[in-house]
């Protein structure tokens, strides 16, 4: 055995313990890579590490932002809406005119006309008569079809949709429960809402924000403009 430098017995014992601790550490580090971790140990370790490491303010702020983004994404997945935490990139419309005129050329080019009409704030105006100056590219993994991009106004669909978010709406009058649709109300213009019960003569429109009331609209041709399939959020959520 090596002749340890420390002279006293207790120092020698201490040195010996440290040697073994080092052996344990290097061997355990390798073992951890090879051994399937035990769930009971992982439960204990997660609690230990969480208790030992108080997160920094920066880490907390990061977790806040990520939690908001994840919350919106989870909600979107539930309602069939993909959430993109960036502002959309628009391009000048190669064909000028109203939506009714440009919708087909845009669809053929894999784009969606973007309208300045804010949904939930456009009382009295008709979607198809809106002028269109810019187009947005439709993501490749979405099925081809006729889409329109609209800007959200108001807080009734928080936390999924924020005011000034842009939504991509697949044009069509089909409604399915729990989908998010753009519907036209005679008094308020276009609104974006979650579909509740669908009756033979009416459709229930729900807000995600509990501060806003539920409404009913007549189930008729033109009531539902389309279904929201994607939303861009310039707030990074």
């Amino acid at each position: 055995m090596i002749d340890h430098a420390p002279a006293s017995r207790s120092a020698r014992d201490e040195a010996r313990e440290h040697e073994i601790d080092t052996l344990v550490a290097i061997t355990a580090a390798l073992a951890e890579r090879l051994v399937e971790p035990d769930p009971r140990f992982l439960d204990w370790q997660a609690a230990e590490l969480r208790a030992r490491r108080r997160p920094t303010l920066a880490a907390e702020a990061r977790a806040d932002a990520r939690a908001r983004r994840l919350g919106a994404a989870a909600l979107g997945a539930r309602f069939g809406v993909r959430c993109v935490p960036d502002a959309p990139v628009a391009q000048p419309a190669p064909v000028a005119g109203t939506l009714s005129r440009v919708i087909n050329p845009a669809a053929e080019a894999g784009c969606a006309p973007r309208l300045e009409l804010g949904i939930a704030a456009g009382a009295g105006r008709v979607l198809w008569d809106e002028p269109c100056d810019s187009w947005l590219s439709i993501p490749d993994d979405l099925p081809r079809g006729r889409y329109v991009a609209l800007t959200v106004k108001g807080d009734s669909m928080l936390p999924l949709l924020h005011s000034e978010d842009v939504v991509l709406v697949k044009i069509g009058s089909e409604v399915a429960r729990d989908s998010i649709v753009v519907a036209r109300r005679p008094d308020d213009g276009y609104v974006v809402k979650r579909v509740g019960r669908v009756g033979p003569a009416s459709i229930e429109l729900l807000s995600l924000n509990p501060d806003f009331p539920t409404t009913l609209v007549e189930r008729a041709e033109g009531t539902v403009a389309g279904t929201v399939v994607l939303r861009w959020c310039q707030h990074g959520v």
């Binding site: 055995m1 090596i2 340890h4 430098a5 420390p6 120092a11 201490e14 040195a15 010996r16 440290h18 040697e19 073994i20 601790d21 080092t22 052996l23 344990v24 550490a25 290097i26 061997t27 355990a28 580090a29 390798l30 073992a31 951890e32 890579r33 090879l34 051994v35 971790p37 035990d38 769930p39 009971r40 140990f41 992982l42 439960d43 204990w44 370790q45 997660a46 230990e48 590490l49 969480r50 030992r52 490491r53 997160p55 880490a59 907390e60 702020a61 977790a63 806040d64 990520r66 939690a67 908001r68 994840l70 919350g71 994404a73 989870a74 909600l75 997945a77 539930r78 936390p159």
Partner: protein
């Protein structure tokens, strides 16, 4: 506005912190963003630790941990998603799988084949001429302990080979300072029995290490001694068989470092 600054925010955060894992998952499924936040903060240190143990470092580790947590959170809150028996185990398994997939993808890239030997050479040169504290200081706050050298890895492998699966698991627990009462509960043993098992295990490691060291040449023994003399700041020294030159004589000069390693001694 941060969650803590919202009205009643601190109370909500404290309530989320107090939840068990299963209750936290339930709250996440109800759409509680405070619970989601707590999920991220609770399991991030665990995944960082395991990512590090699996060899991921720096930016790769941050990306790996962040993506694993986010994907897992979305998968766990999806409608009809099954509830795992242990969320930490689920997350660690997801992390391992993600890392393995990433490495499989990276393995074929020629650029890695070119860069890796260069990076290794550079690291060896650094380690040869700089102390660990110098390396740590020059790397800044992102410093991470170096990967084990070849002799240390060989020693660890030799020690591990000698252990049964149960002993390996116990070793991992001991290295993380899991209290004996926890281990006793998990294994269904008494507190004293756990203490005895751990003592036997430590004694075996030491005996096996001595056997291993007896088979090594000077260069490898020196490398191992360096490992253990780093621990000497805390009082540790390493048992080496046979006489070695004094420490002063063994520290290479800068010129010797520049010339390269000395030829290995051939034992009779």
């Amino acid at each position: 506005m941060s969650a803590a600054r919202r009205p009643g925010g601190e109370r909500h955060l404290a309530a989320a912190r107090a939840l068990g894992d299963a209750a936290l998952l339930d709250a996440m499924r109800q759409g509680d963003s405070t619970a989601l936040r707590e999920f991220l903060l609770r399991f991030e240190p665990l995944l960082e630790h395991h990512a590090h143990r699996l060899g991921a470092s720096g930016g790769e580790r941050d990306d790996l941990v962040g993506e694993t947590l986010e994907d897992a959170a979305l998968a766990l809150v999806a409608p009809n998603a099954p509830t795992p028996r242990s969320i930490p185990a689920y997350l660690v398994a997801a992390l391992r799988n993600r890392l393995l997939n990433a490495r499989r993808g990276a393995r074929g890239r020629a650029i890695a084949r070119v860069r890796e030997p260069l990076a290794r050479e550079a690291a060896l040169a650094d380690e040869g001429i700089c102390s660990e504290s110098t390396l740590r200081a020059s790397a800044g706050p992102g410093w991470e302990p170096p990967r084990p050298s070849r002799p240390v890895a060989a020693l660890a492998a030799a020690l591990l080979d000698d252990l049964s699966d149960d002993e390996r698991v116990l070793l991992v627990w001991v290295s993380h300072h899991v209290p004996y009462r926890e281990i006793a509960q998990w294994l269904g043993l008494g507190y004293a029995a756990v203490g005895k098992r751990v003592e036997r295990l430590r004694a075996r490691l030491r005996a096996r290490a001595d056997l291993h060291l007896a088979t090594l040449g000077d260069a490898d023994r020196l490398a191992l001694e360096t490992l253990f003399t780093r621990g000497a700041h805390h009082g540790a020294r390493f048992p080496l068989h046979g006489p070695l030159p004094s420490r002063a004589a063994r520290v290479p000069s800068a010129a010797a470092v520049a010339e390269g390693p000395p030829p290995e001694r051939i034992d009779d």
